[in-house]
Amino acid sequence: MPAIAALICGFIFGWGLLISGMMQPAKVLAFLDIFGNWDPSLAVVMAAALAVSAAGFALARRRGKPLLAAQSLWPTKSDIDRPLVTGAVLFGAGWGLVGLCPGPALENLATLSPRVVVFVIAMAAGMVLHDIWQTWRPAMRRDEPVAADG
């Protein structure tokens, strides 16, 4: 049952990215290009998504227990540490280079665009490389919260 719920949620999420135009990396880059022909659409997408998800999360907190699971896995970390900052810098650089973040990248696999396929493989490799690098640095505590922020 949780898998069916997740499938439906992924499907709705996908329609959201499609309708909003956020599947198109060129439109995302047009938002990031504040010195060019700026397209503020992404800000509206985020504002609308925030409003609806904040209301939904408030309801989820009040209900306490999710419908199909034993407990809600809210992120537990609250400190702004070096991995968070460094990770955001690296992600931002990659995002700005081609205009793809993980959601639209995975969704665009449906178009069978060779560049998207290569991007997703490289993205998976980057995640695996991170884990290998973490195990090679035993002195540093692994920065893996119980439930990641996202």
Partner: protein, 141 residues
């Protein structure tokens, strides 16, 4: 701002928020795509089912939309192959190290008023804006 599409952006954004809310209300999980995808990689952790199902739904949406006659644009990516590979590596490594991406920090995290997510979103958006400014206007992409 001739390309600004506020109505479709608001409708699509609301759907993204609805998906994130429903995922938390049903499975108790946060709709952060980099985290969902990262959890599918490597061995261990027996909770891959819902992750793969979410990603399947994500990919199914444009396929069904296409069958229903909705236009699904091909992604425009004029960047060279080496830039595509570098960007993918940076996005993968960066989101794993920073525990989230546009959905996990940018939508779900800010909706929770998480200081971590607000800082992360400000940083990755700021850096992306600088990178686009450099590649398009300084080095003239």
């Amino acid at each position: 701002m001739a390309n600004f599409t506020p109505v479709s952006a608001a409708i699509g954004g609301a759907l993204i928020g609805l998906a994130a809310a429903l995922l938390m209300l049903t499975t108790g999980r946060l709709a952060g795509i980099s985290g969902i995808f990262g959890g599918c990689l490597g061995s261990g952790s027996g909770d891959k089912g819902w992750r793969l199902a979410f990603i399947a739904g994500l990919i199914l949406a444009p396929l069904i939309a296409g069958l229903a006659g909705v236009a699904v644009p091909m992604p425009e990516m004029p960047a060279s192959w080496i830039v595509v590979v570098a960007a993918g590596l940076l996005v993968g490594f960066g989101t794993k190290l920073g525990s989230g991406c546009t959905s996990g920090h940018g939508v779900c995290g800010i909706a929770r008023l998480s200081p971590r997510s607000i800082v992360a979103t400000a940083i990755f958006m700021g850096v992306a804006i600088v990178v686009v400014a450099l590649t398009r206007h300084v080095f003239g992409g």
